[in-house]
């Protein structure tokens, strides 16, 4: 297995165990910090395949105690968002939305977070013409509306996320185009 710099042996061990638990061979992956992600807010490690041509890559959030949360874990999104964005601000909307998609907050695969409409959907009739995520606050709850896109099946989703003051999360996506 390729090395992942700055990963503690404990964190690395946790990740490898989770890969094996998922019937994946750690030897076929390299652990790398998720690119284009502010690691200082939350350490996200991607297990990128080295031998298989697949877009799929298990993703892990490394917590302060070197324990990890694997994308798709139950309540995984709640745990990581509480750690990284305990009080999200409007400028955090894209990062929070990305976390929600990557950690399975919506309960179903909805592709990848997009802040810009795919060209093929640019002329579609959509709830919001501007694809940039929008965050508002209502009674202490942060509400984020954003799009995600399944590039394999060319389906756009309109997603709605509510982060309550006590860590409560409400999340839903529906096909948009």
């Amino acid at each position: 297995m390729a090395s992942a710099q700055a990963l503690s042996p404990a964190a690395k061990g946790h990740i490898e165990k989770r890969l094996r638990d998922a019937q994946l061979d750690p030897a076929r992956y390299v652990l790398e910090p998720l690119a284009e992600w502010p690691q200082d807010r939350l350490r996200l490690i991607a297990a990128n395949p080295t031998k298989d041509k697949t877009a799929d890559a298990p993703l892990f959030a490394v917590l302060a105690d070197d324990n990890v949360v694997m994308a798709g874990d139950p309540e995984g999104f709640q745990k990581v968002v509480a750690k990284a964005f305990p009080s999200p601000q409007p400028g955090d909307a894209a990062l929070v939305a990305q976390l929600a998609v990557r950690f399975g907050a919506y309960g179903q695969p909805v592709g990848v977070f997009v802040a810009k409409l795919p060209a093929a959907k640019a002329s579609a009739k959509l709830p919001r013409a501007d694809a940039r995520p929008v965050m508002t606050r209502r009674d202490g709850t942060a509400v984020i509306d954003h799009y995600s896109y399944d590039f394999d099946r060319q389906r756009l989703f309109d997603c709605h996320l509510e982060l309550g003051p006590a860590g409560a999360v409400k999340a839903s996506c529906k096909p948009a185009a």
Binding site: E32, W37, A46, K53, A122
Partner: protein, 807 residues
């Protein structure tokens, strides 16, 4: 109670108006109120009298000046004196004596008459006419005085009383005509008026019968015939106006019979006394009477035969109306009516009584095929075998058969009278009947319903199979192929459930020769025969789910593959549905490139192809889906088994519908393209193109068209901006910087390719820093410095290098 009418016991309930007697001179020949007018022969010419038998028409007065002296005052109590002595209808033979008698003493006959209380009861005009006839008549007339008195006695004592117009008609008959025939007339008049039913008919009918008697010269034969009529209960029970109109026709019927039934007394009397006629509704009787007026003698008997048939009698009124209307049509011949009669007597006609419209159509059909009446009737034999719900359909189907073609008729009879047809469920039977609307299919259908394989399917299976055959429009050729398939040894060796699947595959596959050959090849193949029962069912289920020869042929190849043989049953089920699904897309494709890609892809792993098809536990979570993969450097492609249920349903009917179809076609072609081109993974432009190419090929396979520039740009940008997974390598290739701090050679190639979407060479300022590869202007989300995607709906740039694009 000032408005009440007091009815004293014994008082008449109606007020019999007193006979108005007058001595005022009147015109001797003035007609009675009834308007009966003596014709030359003495018979009434019209029948406009009212029915009231208490005819109170004022008696026409007689001019006293014209009464013979001997008669003056001798006509009391009628009040009139010798009237009408100017005999108008006396024969020439009687004329001379009549004149001679004018100055003579009254003849004894006259005295008898004037003395007769019965004669005295006659209306004055009739009385005068009678006396005048005897006063002027010769010996032959005189000889009939007693008979006359007897008749008059009966007339005047008739109960109920006869209408004056009727009496007048009788008197006119007595007094008219040759003297030599007077005896005959008296006898016939006596017979008629004495008949038991005479007092049960209306005055108008009585007059008409008297007219008829005169029409026939008062012959004994006619009198007898009319007497029979008056004895007949059916006749007497006929409703009005039917009976009145019928008697009117009888009155006019000549002797001998004329050119139409209305001129045939025998036919009319027969009609009047016919039970079948009596049983008809008045409107239907009206139609028969119309027929009598327009059709030749003998025709009406056929109509009555029709009306008497059990099938006619049990039919709905609308059917009876229709059949009679058919009989009435000008173009309908007597033989046609006989055919209709035979039709209604055919055993199956009555079975259709709950479907009157069908019976009506059959009537039309029988007339349209008048020369094949027997064939039409024969075909009704199986009507009772049809379920009640199918009987209208039975009739419709029957009418698709050409009765002039004996083979079709025989085949229809053979099918519909068979026990196997009768045993079918109503839905299955309905399908058979619909299929039988193609008469050439009849022999095949008969064989089908009798075949052990079909009978072994049970009611539900039969219903499903026949419904599919119906949907596919099976005809003779398809049924013949079906029979050939089910007679094949490979088929007969199958379990009943598997036979059902093969038969369904054939039916849903429209029974083509290609489908027959493909299915025969499948069930007869040694590797198929060697499969366990559950695997056979898995394979045949998909042949049925995807009923086309391409699927059956590829399933036959699949069972020969080593990789298939090594699979557990669950993966065999999954794999069979993938092969069926992809083959069906291939079979139905109209795009040459799509066909080539799918066909070549399947050929890669179906024998003699050497690639390996595997099912693997790949990711399916709330986060993402991995459809499939191609382990680098191998010719193996894997599909995520979590996307395909281990059952015998269709791909698109599974719990992961939407993903499963994508995996079974797009992913399969995508991954095989990777294996065919075998480009190594890495932070390289070539790997970028390898992914772009595989996507392009999968896209065409799934959508049947090449992607447009928008779609291709989205995909390329996605590949180049992925931050995890194998595509992370491509992002690295895009952003890679060489030792000079400028984009690396690989990066430059990536940027050059992306420039194809903008039409101009992109610079480093056009590249996005995060989330996207290119600062492309898209929709409303625009910003300064964005570049334009040119010709967005044009064909996407092809991969560079092209390499293998069709697997």
């Amino acid at each position: 109670m000032p408005n009440e009418v007091s009815l004293r016991p014994g008082a008449p309930t109606t007020d019999p108006r007193p006979t108005v007697e007058t001595t005022e001179p009147r015109t001797p020949a003035a007609p009675s109120r009834g308007g009966t007018k003596a014709t030359e022969g003495g018979a009434p010419a019209s029948k406009t009298d009212e029915v009231d038998r208490r005819d109170t028409t004022p008696t026409p007065p007689v001019d006293p000046a014209r009464v013979p002296a001997g008669l003056a005052g001798g006509l009391a109590p009628g009040g009139t004196t010798g009237a009408g002595l100017r005999q108008k209808a006396v024969s020439k033979a009687d004329e001379a004596p009549a004149k001679a008698d004018l100055s003579a003493q009254p003849k004894p006959s006259v005295k008898k008459l004037t003395d007769s209380p019965a004669v005295a009861k006659l209306p004055a005009g009739d009385r005068a006419k009678l006396i005048d006839r005897f006063a002027t008549g010769g010996p032959e007339v005189q000889a009939q005085v007693d008979a006359t008195l007897a008749l008059v006695g009966k007339l005047t004592s008739h109960t109920p009383s006869l209408a004056a117009s009727v009496t007048g008609a009788v008197i006119a008959s007595i007094t008219s005509g040759p003297a030599g025939e007077m005896k005959t007339r008296l006898a016939s008049l006596d017979a008629l008026t004495s008949a038991p039913g005479f007092d049960k008919i209306t005055a108008s009918e009585q007059r008409d019968l008297l007219t008829s008697l005169a029409q026939g010269g008062h012959s004994a034969e006619r009198a007898g015939k009319l007497g029979e009529l008056l004895k007949d209960a059916s006749f007497l029970a006929l409703p009005q106006p039917t009976r009145g109109e019928l008697v009117g026709l009888i009155a006019k019927a000549p002797t001998p019979a004329g050119p139409s039934a209305k001129d045939d007394l025998d036919a009319l009397v027969h009609l009047a006394t016919n039970d079948a006629f009596a049983a008809l509704a008045p409107a239907q009787q009206r139609v028969v009477l119309d027929t009598a007026a327009t059709k030749p003698p003998g025709y009406m008997q056929k109509v009555l035969d029709l009306a008497a048939s059990p099938g006619f009698k049990s039919a709905e009124p609308k059917v009876r109306d229709h059949l009679l209307a058919l009989a009435k049509r000008p173009a309908t011949r007597q033989a046609d009516v006989a055919n209709l009669d035979a039709l209604t007597r055919a055993p199956g006609f009555d079975a259709l009584k709950a479907t009157p419209d069908a019976q009506n159509k059959l009537g039309d059909f029988a007339l349209a095929h008048r020369d094949q009446a027997k064939a039409v009737n024969d075909m009704l034999a199986g009507a009772a075998n049809a379920a009640p719900e199918n009987r209208a359909l039975f009739a419709d189907t029957l009418m698709h058969v050409d009765p002039s073609k004996a083979d079709q008729v025989a085949a229809f009879v053979a099918l519909t009278t068979s026990a196997d047809f009768k045993a079918l469920g109503k839905d299955a039977q309905a399908s058979v009947l619909k299929l039988a609307a193609k008469p050439e299919a009849l022999p095949g259908l008969t064989k089908l319903v009798q075949s052990p394989a079909f009978k072994g399917q049970g009611a539900a299976g039969q219903k499903t199979l026949l419904a599919e055959m119906e949907k596919a429009g099976f005809g003779a050729a398809e049924l013949t192929r079906f029979e050939t398939l089910t007679a094949d040894a490979g088929f007969t060796a199958l379990a009943a459930g598997d036979q059902a699947l093969v038969m369904l595959a054939m039916a849903k596959g429209k029974g083509t020769e290609k489908q027959r050959v493909a299915l025969t090849g499948l069930v007869g193949h040694a590797d198929f025969k060697a499969l366990a029962a559950d695997s056979k069912t898995a394979v045949l289920s998909q042949a049925s789910n995807y009923p086309n020869p391409t699927a059956a042929t590829n399933l036959t190849k699949m069972v020969q593959a080593a990789w298939f043989k090594s699979m557990p049953i669950a993966d065999r089920q999954r794999t069979a549905k993938v092969i069926g699904y992809a083959s069906t897309k291939l079979d139905g494709s109209t795009n040459a490139t799509q066909k080539t890609i799918i066909s070549n892809t399947l050929d890669r792993f179906l024998p003699p192809g050497t690639y390996t098809f595997e099912m693997a536990n790949l990711n399916l979570s709330a986060v993402s889906v991995t459809f499939g993969e191609n382990p680098a450097g191998t010719t193996t492609f894997r599909i995520n088994r979590k996307l395909l249920d281990a059952d015998n349903k269709k791909v698109e009917d599974g719990t992961q519908a939407g993903y499963a179809e994508h995996a079974a076609l797009n992913t399969m072609c995508h991954e095989v393209n990777h294996a065919v081109n075998n480009v190594p993974m890495g932070e390289t432009y070539d790997y970028f193109q390898d992914e772009y190419r595989a996507w392009y090929v999968g896209f065409v396979a799934e959508n049947g068209r090449v992607p447009n520039r928008q779609e291709a740009y989205d995909r390329a940008d996605y590949l180049l901006s992925a931050t995890s997974g194998a595509y992370n390598l491509l992002r690295k290739a895009r952003v890679e910087v060489g030792g000079d701090g400028k984009p690396s050679a690989e990066s430059k190639k990536v940027i050059a390719f992306m420039s194809k979407f903008t039409g101009t060479a992109l610079s480093s300022t056009d590249l996005a820093s995060q989330g996207k590869a290119v600062n492309m202007k898209v929709g409303a989300n625009t910003a300064a410095g964005e570049v334009e995607l040119t010709n967005p709906t044009g064909a996407a740039p092809q991969p560079d290098p092209l390499l293998d694009m069709d697997n």
